[in-house]
């Protein structure tokens, strides 16, 4: 699998770049707030934790930059991202570990719905262009120009305040104990409807537009005409010939737009007080919790890279040409 190998090498490079960027930012920005935070918790930070903070934030100035870099990698590879200031003295990894499942669940399901639904709608609009379905296009243009969080604000004010059918925010009722009881699960689902639908609504337009434009381009190809001439059923031509070719740029576009979708979702969580990574990031900004912010950045980047690997596998399955190269 030469194709996948190349991609994997690229993702390793990206991961290295992300860690390196993370290493250099505090050193370039001269973040002396870190020093003041250490002062704030004087006596409460163990000498070992203090040392790892020094290493992570480049306050260890008596060492050479290279030595700092090596130490930094040592800390990262041991899964030590430092200690969160806002929820002191919990390690950053623990804070992230608590909130990651919520984000993965919400973003994962919403993104899958948006990609699949958007591609299907795009196929239909592109195939039957010039009918009433073209009216969907201006609507999607509107939704693709609106920031996610504003849609969230509107959704809350309409469905939670003005017409209170759904909860305002959070991930489950405060009175419930997390567990696999029906009560808890249904509460979780109820709380996920509004943020999930808003993410789908905000991100689906990009997929519709992309798919539609590719369909328009692909439907005028000769092989589609030939498929029609052979007398294949319209559905077969639409999905098996036109859509199958039109969807390839969607899959590679998925990798590129994922960072954008994730960014939008982070802000969405802040609006809905959904206890995922985004809310933690928001709290970290408020509390100037730099270790948490940087840890979150690394984790999100890694998650995006994993999603990219999955998209590449899907690409290989869809496009026989990549398999032939091997």
């Amino acid at each position: 699998m030469k194709f996948l190998g190349r991609r994997l090498a690229f993702y390793l490079l990206t991961a290295w770049a992300a860690v390196t960027i993370n290493f250099f930012i505090p050193r370039v920005m001269k973040g002396d707030p870190v020093q003041s935070l250490i002062n704030r918790y004087q006596g409460q930070i163990s000498t070992e934790a203090e040392h790892s903070l020094y290493v992570l934030f480049g306050l260890d100035t008596q060492e050479s930059l290279w030595q700092q870099y090596v130490d930094y990698w040592g800390e990262i590879l041991h899964g030590n991202f430092g200690i969160s200031f806002t929820s002191f003295p919990t390690p950053v990894t623990e804070v992230i570990g608590d909130s990651l499942p919520w984000t993965l669940g919400l973003v994962g399901v919403a993104t899958v719905i948006a990609v699949v639904g958007g591609s299907l709608v795009g196929i239909l609009i592109g195939w039957r262009r010039g009918t009433w379905m073209d009216a969907i296009l201006p609507v999607t243009t509107f939704f693709s120009s609106v920031p996610y969080f504003w849609l969230g604000l509107i959704a809350i004010s309409v469905f939670a305040i003005w017409w209170p059918v759904l909860p305002l925010g959070g991930a489950y009722d405060g009175g419930l104990i997390p567990g696999w009881s029906w009560e808890f699960v249904s509460s979780v689902l109820e709380h996920a409807i509004l943020p999930g639908l808003t993410i789908v609504l905000a991100s689906i337009s990009g997929w519709i537009l992309g798919m539609r434009n590719m369909m328009v381009t692909v439907t005028s190809e000769d092989y589609v005409t030939v498929a029609h001439a052979k007398g294949l059923s319209e559905r077969r031509v639409m999905f098996g010939y036109a859509a199958r070719n039109a969807i390839l740029p969607q899959v590679s576009g998925f990798a590129l737009s994922l960072g954008f979708v994730v960014s939008g979702t982070l802000v969405m969580e802040m609006v809905f007080s959904y206890p995922g990574i985004g809310l933690q990031l928001f709290n970290a900004i408020g509390g100037k919790d730099y270790p948490l912010m940087q840890g979150i950045f690394l984790i999100i980047t890694l998650a995006v890279l994993v999603a990219n690997v999955l998209a590449d596998v899907a690409y290989v399955l869809l496009d026989p040409r990549t398999r032939q190269e091997a």
Partner: protein
């Protein structure tokens, strides 16, 4: 190009256009400008953009109140005195939005300019260098494409002592240039192998001249489109940053208004005038930018131009869009019917290859699929 509808539509517009015996560069520029504006979308987008630009300049002067002026008129709904109501400190929301327009546009345009320059630098040199240099530059832009921008921007902006407009614009440009570079590289690669570049090289023109006078003019549409996309990205990101309170709070922008609204429970207090207008402004600006980009896309890629016509528009031209792939003329015009190959022939004869937008047709698909994201 096997697209029949394009041939038909192009042929018609060629017939309608006054035939110019000599194609001077000026005449060609005029023709292509008209072609760009003939798409109503682009015109509408440009008009909205100009309006916003005017308000960005005169906003602070026409604002009825000082946006920071605290009064006793707390949280008033819209009225004659306060067209968009007041916030929790009695400050006029309309004035805040008017004053904030400047920040939004300034950051958007600055970030767009910086990012586009960077994209041209990286993309065009990657396309021209080839080999190892190309590999390195492509890998660099791909890395920046994959790394999620917003958390990175947040880290940088929140560690800076004071995240003013200029810093935000620079950070946004540093994270938002990669897509443009990728598209420009692809297009440069395809241009580099064209005959006219080969001819220039055979004439002994210097590389600098080939880049500046042979290549860049042919990339104009793509550069413009990538500029507009970056501005859209920057405007949305700037608003998001201001909304979560990362940017300097002394600068008013639309996101700052939303930040105050969210921080003071505008939602549960039912103060819709506080957060709806700001969002609508962002949406309008974003739509205007997207419309301009549609115009550029359709100008660059004639297939989309044909597809962009509404069903009624197509029917007016006696073209029935049928199951998406073939445009069928209802009444055969003379002997040309069904006419597509002949029509294409006439297009080719009346338009010398290599003029206007023709060189940019291929390789522009990434722009189309990504334009709206």
């Amino acid at each position: 190009m096997s697209s029949m509808p394009v041939g038909v539509v192009d042929a018609e517009s060629e017939i309608l256009a006054p035939v110019e015996p000599t194609r001077t560069p000026g005449a060609r520029a005029k023709r292509s400008r008209v072609a760009f504006l003939s798409s109503g979308k682009a015109t509408a987008g440009l008009v909205i953009l100009v309006l916003f630009a005017v308000f960005a300049i005169i906003g602070p002067w026409v604002a009825p109140y000082d946006p920071n002026e605290v009064t006793v008129d707390l949280l008033l709904p819209p009225s004659g005195a306060h067209w968009l109501g007041t916030d929790h400190l009695g400050r006029d929301v309309l004035s805040q939005l008017l004053v904030g327009t400047r920040s939004v546009l300034l950051v958007g345009v600055l970030a767009g300019v910086f990012a586009t320059l960077l994209a041209i630098l990286v993309g065009v040199s990657a396309g021209f260098l080839g080999g190892v240099g190309d590999e390195i530059l492509s890998a660099l832009s791909n890395v920046f494409l994959v790394i999620p921008a917003l958390p990175l921007i947040i880290i940088v902006a929140s560690q800076a002592p004071d995240a003013g407009n200029l810093l935000v614009a620079i950070v946004l440009a540093a994270t938002g240039w990669a897509w443009g570079a990728r598209v420009l590289r692809a297009q440069t690669l395809s241009l580099r192998k064209r005959d006219f570049i080969e001819a220039a090289r055979a004439n002994g023109e210097s590389t600098a001249r080939i880049v500046w006078f042979e290549t860049l003019p042919n990339l104009t549409a793509i550069i413009a489109s990538s500029f507009v996309s970056t501005v859209t990205f920057a405007v949305l990101s700037q608003t998001t940053l201001a909304f979560i309170g990362v940017t300097s709070s002394s600068d008013w922008s639309w996101g700052t208004v939303l930040y105050w609204a969210q921080a003071n429970q505008a939602l549960s207090r039912g103060a819709w005038w506080w957060f709806i207008p700001a969002g609508l402004l962002i949406a309008t600006l974003g739509m205007a930018l997207t419309l301009v980009n549609f115009g550029i896309d359709e100008f660059v890629n004639p297939r989309l131009r044909a597809a962009g016509l509404s069903g009624r528009g197509l029917r007016k031209q006696k073209i029935t869009p049928r199951i998406g792939f073939t445009a069928v003329r209802l009444d055969p015009v003379g002997a040309r019917a069904p006419g597509a190959p002949t029509a294409q022939g006439s297009t080719a004869s009346s338009k010398p290859p290599g003029t206007g937008s023709t060189p940019t047709h291929q390789g522009s698909n990434p722009t189309d699929t990504e334009a709206a994201r």
